[in-house]
Symmetry: none
Subunit: 502 residues, 2 copies
């Protein structure tokens, strides 16, 4: 390795360490921190993120990148080092547009907003939450205005979570998905399916044992992973050997904990699967939330709710449910967990209606960011979208506009990643079924190793080495498409509802 | 507030935030982190600590202090701001004496030394540990040589943990304490006391409830505190509203968990009691380990093992012990937890013999640092001290010279803080008994609020505003003295052994 490359790696390694430290402060805040520690934690995070940002956007970073670019000019363009330099260049050029004060203000607003959101939810009080939300969108507009030459202001925030994607493309993809989903839901939602197996009493301690079992099937190990409880499940990692998941337990509805855990473990497998030699480089984290969500949704739905996996799951559910699920038929479980049932809560939504929750949020974000919608009018607009796309009535802010953490933390532009992730998962799944002909037998035996290794080889190990388009090109030979996901869904729903949906 | 003062406060506030962040990484490493996360955590901590140190010793810190000194020259010398400036000056001048290379070498040696110590303990192998120990003392000598004009080389390290104390004073105090303790122990150790109530089977889950109850009496609240499990109990805080304790449970000996928790909670009350307006300044942490230990030892021993508090504790022990301690007499508990019983392990020593463990370590440290003792001769010297002061025979290095973590991590100069802390606690306790005549009644009712408020008012709220000598002068009107601690101990032991010890 040349001197310039070594210096750049050292410098970026320190920045990676600082980011990991900030991530731990975030994780702790949501899992371990006593409530009253919040104010000081907000200050600590703001300082850490400001200093990290200042270092990253400093002239020194630019000089080191330039020197490494010069040193590498003659080398192979696709080597790890070349990719480190080009990814550092991309992130540096983007970050430099944002003044440190604005970056710090966004961090503080995110932390405050989260706290206010938690409090406001206790009394279902949108009026208390609204000023924080207004500030978050105002700061997002300021952030967007730091960048020139965008086709659409939303392109800037979208690029933070799905680098290289454009608002126009997302609008087209989500529109196509919406147009396929709406008639499907209209056709299937009225048909009754027996969901009673999901509503048995299942003690939280028994659910913990169940979740532990399923996560270990997936690759969770106590030596390098943790699972904790939070109201809003999430995943975070501090190295490929330190991956942390959370889930949430509802005694009267076990799928909440089980599928949230599988979802977060899908994220965790991605981060645990990054090639260790990429750690402390810009390639050692995951560039795209869309790909990230493709992994979580794939494990949660395509594996977790598959007919084959239900054969492995049903007896284990019965084993842990103290009699309440004795004799549970895999087919009954498969039908129950795939019912099309429009509802108000995104994270509880079934696989089919889920996408419309995202479409609604995406459209509302666009309107809020562009100024076409005021925060004060948001609840009404929210409820109207829910009625229009899902035919449901929202009874409270808690199950309406205040259900998601994202906007409270100024995460604007994230939501499309979930839907795009579903679409990508559909493309990957089609490819996986061709590459692993024995997949169904393996899932039915809870033998998840071949699938995990396929994902590691094709996707995980690369970290941020490739952009979404390049990665998809390598793995499935095409850009994001709606078709495979809808085809997958139709095939599954035809089995669930015993109808011809082709 | 003037501009220079505001700038200095901002700058030091950031440094405080970075230190708190590093402390969280340390806490997590010992409580939550999956085992395989260790290597990355070491890198993250090293980066965070290096960057924090660089910022603090930078020319900018010096300029800001100088400007604030000039601005404050005309103001009152005892204001909070004046104290912030003078404490920043003290710490800055001290830190700047140490070349960055030496600071880094000490950090590395501490980390290596700890690892080697852990390994060497597994096979009770002093020969493997000795080179690390030699290096730690050599680097400590180099560190000492960075400072001019000391009466004694040990003054430099002592000042790190008990700022302002001198080796001569500690030698005199510990000598006087030793001379009082040795005959007391010789007289009492042979007398039998029934300790059987301490050795009942006490399920860990029941102990958790017991500890939770007692900690809440002390002021622990779920909103601002946590209690977790570790092999080596410790306390750490990230703000006055985020205080974390750990303890360790032994099913066959409940005092381990209970008294470790009370000890750590004593530390925690100190940190929680610092005036909130001192946070993010150099006064917002605790300057002196000696005063810190005075608080933990006061709660653990003077409260926790008092005759009065045993009246509150005995029925609660019985309540949680599922029959094993039914009818436990407070007097029997009081006698059992105050037995004088020489042993080889410091952290398990009773209140009376504890001090001699410290005297031995202090004398050995002095000899090692001064070169009068070689590391190779240390085990023999250690065992001789144990025989001389405590009359015990050391059967292995594990229960001898390799029992403590301190020297492995190059923490030379810390040990006296424990004994000086006991002496200070003795002085505070005498004062408290005069100031709160109803103290015994309150302890017997587990009404710990008046005591806690006294300590907060007199000691805790000041944070690092005063040096030890100044603080003691304000609170007890005298410097550290041995007499009150010995008098307290004699009075208690006379009750325990029903003898006239006056």
């Amino acid at each position: 390795m040349g001197k310039a490359m070594a210096d750049l790696r050292d410098w970026l390694g320190e920045i990676s360490d600082l980011r990991r430290a900030a991530a731990l402060l975030q994780w702790d805040k949501q899992t371990m921190m006593p409530r009253r520690g919040a104010d000081s934690r907000t200050e600590q995070l703001a300082t850490l993120e400001r200093i990290t940002h200042e270092r990253f956007i400093s002239a020194r970073t630019g000089e080191l990148i330039e020197a490494a670019e010069a040193e590498r000019a003659a080398g192979p363009p696709d080597s790890i080092d070349a990719r480190i330099v080009s990814e550092a260049r991309r992130l540096y050029d983007k970050s430099r547009q944002v003044p440190a004060d604005l970056a710090a203000a966004r961090t503080t607003a995110a932390s405050d907003g989260y706290r206010i959101w938690v409090q406001a939810r206790e009394t279902d009080d949108f009026a208390t939450f609204a000023p924080a939300l207004e500030r978050n969108f105002r700061l997002t507009r300021e952030y967007v205005s730091c960048f020139d030459g965008q086709e659409h202001p939303y392109d800037v925030v979208l690029d933070d979570f799905a680098p290289g994607m454009r608002t126009g493309e997302v609008t087209r993809l989500l529109g196509e998905m919406r147009d396929a989903l709406v008639p499907l839901i209209e056709q299937l939602a009225p048909r009754p399916v027996d969901r009673s197996p999901l509503h048995v009493r299942f003690a939280v301690e028994d659910q913990r044992r169940l979740v532990d079992r399923v996560l270990h099937w997936m690759g969770f190990s106590d030596a390098g992973w943790r699972l904790d409880d939070t109201v809003h499940p999430f995943e975070q990692s501090f190295s490929v050997h330190d991956v942390r998941l959370t889930t949430r337990y509802v005694e009267s509805y076990f799928p909440t904990a089980l599928y949230a855990a599988m979802h977060e473990c899908g994220h965790g497998l991605y981060e645990a699967g990054i090639a260790p030699e990429l750690q402390r480089t810009p390639l050692g984290t995951i560039r795209s939330s869309a790909i990230h969500e493709s992994q979580s949704r794939l494990w949660e739905n395509m594996v977790g709710r598959s007919r084959a996996f239900c054969a492995a799951l049903a007896p284990v559910l019965a084993e842990h449910a103290r009699g309440a699920l004795d004799g549970l038929a895999p087919e009954a479980l498969f039908r129950a967990v795939n019912t099309v049932q429009p509802s108000t809560i995104r994270i509880e939504a079934d696989e089919t209606t889920y996408g419309l929750h995202i479409v609604a949020r995406f459209e509302l974000e666009l309107a809020l960011l562009g100024g076409a919608l005021d925060v004060s009018d948001l609840p009404e607009a929210w409820n109207a979208k829910m009625a229009e796309y899902l035919g449901v009535e929202v009874a409270s802010h808690d199950e309406g506009v205040m259900q998601d953490v994202h906007w409270s933390e100024a995460l604007v532009g994230y939501f499309p990643a979930y839907a795009i992730g579903n679409l990508i998962a559909g493309q990957l799944w089609a490819r996986i079924r061709r590459d692993i002909p024995e997949l169904e037998d393996q899932l039915a035996r809870a033998d998840l190793w071949p699938l995990r290794e396929w994902l590691r080889e094709q996707v995980h190990r690369h970290g941020s080495r490739y952009g979404d388009r390049e990665l998809l090109g390598r793995v499935v030979g095409e850009p994001v498409r709606v078709g495979p996901f809808i085809a997958y869904l139709r095939e599954k729903l035809a089995e669930v509802y015993q109808l011809d949906l082709a």
